[in-house]
Each structure stands twice: as C-alpha cells, then as structure tokens.
Amino acid sequence: MELDQVITTAESPDPADGLRAAQVLRRVAEQIEARHVAAARLAGWSWQEIGDALGVSRQAAHKKHGKNIV
C-alpha cells in the first residue's frame, strides 16, 4: 500500500482506531530507534554520527539512549 493511501485510510475509519494506530506506531518507531542506536554504537558510530542520522543533536541522542547503551 502506498503511504498516501495509508494516511487516507487512517482518516476514514473510527477515529479511535486511527488515533490508537498513531500511538502504536510511535512505540514501533521508538523501538526501532533504540535497537538500531545500540547496533550503531556496537559498530563504532559516534554519538555525533547517530545524532546526525536521527536528525537530532549529539547531546539529544546521548541523553535519550546513553543510559541504556554505552
């Protein structure tokens, strides 16, 4: 399914479903991020490089993930 189709579908059903889906997808995104930041650190990426890839500052990336990932 194309993205604009997904977004339109997201507007048409019960808002309860659409809103819940948006919330669940945030959880999915957070988990993907956490997993791959860990992988990047293991692969030798600096916090600067990770921040640049995520579109946040080095400090923001480290503050968010630094406690769980070395």
């Binding site: 059903p13 479903d17 659409g18 819940r20 889906a21 669940v24 959880r27 999915v28 993930h65 769980n68």
Partner: protein, 146 residues
C-alpha cells in the same frame, strides 16, 4: 497500584500513563477470582494488544504491535489528563461513599465513570465487560464490608 500502572506503561513502551494503564494496574494487583473486573493481567494484555493490532489493520498497516521492550527514555512517564481526572474522581468517590480508606476499588469506580471514548472503557468493552455492571458490583461489595 499506581506503581503497577506506571510499570505497565514501561512494559508496553508507552510514553504516557493513561486510564487504560490504571485499569491494568488494578488487574495486576488484584486477584481476578475476587476482583469485580474478573480478568487477570495476562488476559487484559492480550486483549489490549488485540485492540492495537485491530487499529493498525484498520489504518492499513497490518503489522504486529510491539509486545513490550523497555523504552529508551528513562525517567518520568507523564499521566494523561484523563488519568489525572480519574485519580481526582477517585478521591471524590471515596468521600461520597463515606469510606475511611482509599482502596483500589474506588479507582475502579472512577474508571467506570469515564466516557465511552476513554481508553479504559474501550479496553473493558473489548474484554466484554460492562462498566456500569462493574460499578454496581464494586459499590455493593464496598457497602458490605463498610
């Protein structure tokens, strides 16, 4: 019990504590065989994930919802306005019923008074439970022990 609600949010990887987490906290800390909710935490979690899955499907994203992995952000998880309102209403219910102590049952009463769109009410609906029937049952049991 509120601690259990926060733990449930952490477990699910949610970035907030809502009324649905309060309901889960109640299920996690009470014996389903005597609790008016009547379902255990494991059953509730399954129903909850079913709601998440159905919501994703309805929006054209047929993936499995995450079943819980520690969230990356540690520290304080904010309560939703609804959850805060519920805790305020809990105090009101406790006073109105003339109870001497604030019990988990009072939180359950406050939860059953939420609007039909509330996440906790949705969760009860999905579990095939009637909020009004639960409230009546809780009030009856509180009167008995009072």
């Amino acid at each position: 019990m509120v601690t259990a609600a926060v733990a449930e949010a952490e477990r699910r990887g949610d970035d907030h504590v809502g009324t649905d987490h309060l309901l889960a906290g109640l299920c996690a800390t009470s014996d389903p065989s005597i609790s008016p909710v009547g379902i255990g935490i494991e059953e509730l979690r399954t129903i909850w994930l079913g709601l998440d899955r159905a919501a994703l499907e309805a929006t054209g994203i047929p993936i499995d919802p995450p079943t819980g992995m520690p969230r990356s952000r540690t520290g304080h998880i904010p309560f939703t306005s609804g959850a805060k309102e519920t805790l305020t209403a809990t105090l009101r219910e406790t006073l109105e019923l003339g109870s001497r102590k604030l019990e988990p049952e009072h939180i359950l009463i406050a939860l059953t008074l939420r609007s039909p769109r509330d996440p906790a009410i949705r969760l009860l609906d999905a579990a095939g439970l009637n909020p009004d029937a639960i409230r009546a049952e809780v009030i009856r049991s509180l009167r008995k022990t009072a």
